[in-house]
């Protein structure tokens, strides 16, 4: 029974129209970006049609080669994959130890994790973080960005801990009795059972690493070769050429948006299931 089943006409139609309207507004910028990326610059500046007059697939090859998006994409992929793998390893290990064992300093370790999620001094942290990377010589590579991203694993840690709690203790206790050690139990009992949790958490880490803008932009200020998609694209706006190449900008935007959009559509269920753990905006 639904609440309005007695009067399906008026209210329901109104609700439907409203939902469609909101959906149109949400889709508008994405649609404009995708369609615009196939138009010529003149067409974009002159206004006019909704659909491109002639589909300019060349925009993509030009962005890919001319505006260096091949390199940006590789950098983005590297940062995102490395950060995701690293975060999952570090967070799952810590969550395993905290959930299954007692050890000195355990409460402190958990408290430290929790506190980093609540204290925020914003952009200030970037400076000491950058200095630390300079000190160990990682400021000229993307590994510095990766390391800082992995360090922000508190959210993943708590998410994995809650998944871990749902795995029956009997399973790993049995393995321990059968003689498999701490590490082997983790690797061959816990990790396989944690797969769904790792998948969802990995999706989230990958998304935020792929979308990260401020951190890579700080690290690549003097080293444009390391720019990720988000940074390279934003820098197109301040390009030296007098006329802004809107067509290339939109093609670049699509190159950086489409992979995530595809992953989202494919993994929609998992994305939508565990959002409560990560409030973005």
């Amino acid at each position: 029974m639904n609440r309005w089943s007695k009067r399906p006409s008026g209210a329901s139609v109104l609700a439907g129209v409203f939902l469609l309207l909101v959906a149109a507004v949400i889709l508008y910028p994405v649609l404009m970006a995708v369609l615009g990326s196939f138009k010529t610059n003149a067409e974009l500046n002159g206004g006019g049609s909704f659909w491109p007059a002639r589909w300019q697939f060349a925009n993509y090859s030009q962005a890919w080669k001319g505006a260096n998006f091949a390199r940006f994409s590789w950098n983005s992929l590297f940062v995102s994959v490395a950060a995701t793998v690293g975060t999952l390893i570090v967070a799952s290990m810590a969550a395993y130890a905290a959930d299954r064992r007692d050890f000195p300093g355990k409460r402190l370790a958990i408290a430290v994790q929790a506190s980093t999620m609540f204290i925020s001094i914003g952009a200030v942290v970037l400076k000491p973080q950058f200095d630390l990377m300079v000190a160990i010589g990682l400021h000229r590579t993307l590994w510095g960005v990766v390391l800082i991203l992995i360090a922000g694993h508190a959210g993943t840690y708590f998410m994995l801990a809650s998944f871990m709690r749902a795995i029956p203790r009997d399973l790993d206790e049995a393995a321990m009795i059968d003689g498999s050690g701490f590490f082997r139990t983790f690797r061959s009992v816990i990790l396989p059972l944690l797969k769904p949790g790792l998948g969802v958490a990995g999706l989230f880490v990958f998304r935020s690493a792929w979308n990260e803008y401020i951190l890579p932009s700080v690290f690549t200020m003097t080293n444009p070769k390391l720019q990720t998609l988000t940074v390279g694209l934003a820098n197109l706006r301040y390009g030296v050429s007098a006329a802004m190449q809107t067509d290339l900008m939109l093609a670049g935007a699509c190159i950086s948006l489409l992979p995530l959009l595809l992953v989202y559509l494919l993994a929609n269920k998992s994305f939508v299931q565990v959002t409560a753990g990560s409030v973005k905006g």
């Binding site: 029974m1 639904n2 609440r3 309005w4 409203f18 939902l19 909101v22 959906a23 507004v25 949400i26 910028p29 615009g36 500046n45 206004g47 006019g48 390893i89 570090v90 290990m93 810590a94 395993y96 130890a97 064992r101 050890f103 300093g105 370790a109 430290v112 994790q113 980093t116 925020s120 001094i121 914003g122 952009a123 200030v124 942290v125 970037l126 400076k127 000491p128 973080q129 630390l132 390391l147 360090a151 508190a154 701490f182 979308n211 803008y213 700080v218 998609l229 988000t230 694209l233 934003a234 900008m249 939109l250 950086s256 948006l257 994305f271 939508v272 959002t275 409560a276 409030v279 905006g281």
Partner: protein
């Protein structure tokens, strides 16, 4: 013997996580606390100035402008986002065809990069030949609005923030709504309660705890955000969209195309700390107010 070994192994498993958090998460906070009392431009020796940075903060019009802007930005965003996302959640919580598709569409902005979407929004909103102005002209509604000009830039930033956030809160609200048993609505409608009455007398009170939690998160997240503003306007024009943490950012790293300012690590730390305190204060006020609201029910 065996037991100690396992304890050691558990500690070893925690170490990478703990070390990274301490070094890259906690240390920067203490770094900032130390430099609040120094004047330091990044070279030479830092000069101890005591509480001078806070005196300066008190007189700093740009900081207070940024505080006002932050409150307007967060307030404007939440004032629309929260009711709208709640409304969407309530509408989609009914059994209806296409609910899944709508959810997918509404949540999509949350997945997309804020900075990349800001570039797309620049193409849409820019005053000279933006897509939106072209559209408005074509249907004869307006001759062009300066969306990123001094009068409208903040409004545009708020609109973009709403676009990016609505789907996220809708989903959180939906999760909360699913916890309310449907029988309550059924018996209420048998008793003759209309949808609006059901919303105010059942949905809102039953959703209370979720609503409070989500609002708390929403407030802190919105006060902290500056990424899309940084990409789109860098705080301009004339500081109209300068928000607290963007102001802090500019103290540490000058932004391309704006005039490079002298870096001020000490003062920047003080501003960052003040901003964090302000966010803490707003959170506390909210906490107190929502407790008060609780006793009203």
């Amino acid at each position: 013997m065996h037991r100690t070994r396992i304890k050691l192994e558990a500690v070893a498993f925690t170490l990478p996580s703990l070390l990274l958090t301490l070094v890259l998460g906690i240390y920067p906070i203490f770094w900032a606390i130390r430099y609040m009392f120094y004047e330091y431009a990044g070279y030479g020796t830092p000069k101890f100035v005591g509480l001078y940075n806070f005196e300066r903060l008190y007189r700093d019009e740009r900081f207070w402008n940024a505080v006002t802007n932050t409150l307007v930005y967060a307030g404007g965003k939440l004032l629309v986002t929260l009711p709208l996302s709640l409304l969407l959640a309530v509408l989609l919580n009914r059994r209806m065809r296409g609910a899944g598709l709508f959810k997918t569409i509404f949540f999509m902005p949350t997945v997309l990069s804020a900075s990349v979407m800001s570039i797309v929004f620049y193409v849409i909103f820019n005053s000279y030949n933006g897509m939106l102005n072209q559209l408005l002209q074509q249907i004869g509604l307006s001759r062009g609005v300066e969306w990123l000009g001094a009068n409208y830039a903040m409004l545009t930033m708020i609109l973009i923030a709403i676009w990016g956030a609505v789907g996220n809160y809708m989903l959180l609200f939906l999760a909360g709504l699913q916890g309310i048993p449907r029988d309550i609505y059924e018996s209420a409608s048998i008793d003759g309660a209309r949808p609006a009455q059901q919303f105010f007398y059942i949905t809102i009170p039953m959703l209370g705890p979720v609503l409070q939690m989500v609002m708390l998160l929403a407030i802190t997240v919105s006060l902290k955000g500056y990424e899309s503003i940084m990409v789109l306007t860098q705080g301009g024009p004339f500081g109209k969209t300068d928000v607290m943490f963007l102001y802090v950012y500019k103290m540490f790293f000058s932004v391309a195309s704006t005039t490079a300012e002298v870096q001020q690590y000490g003062y920047g730390s003080a501003v960052g700390f003040a901003a964090a305190l302000l966010i803490g204060a707003v959170t506390l006020i909210y906490f107190y107010a929502s407790k008060k609201l609780n006793s009203l029910y």
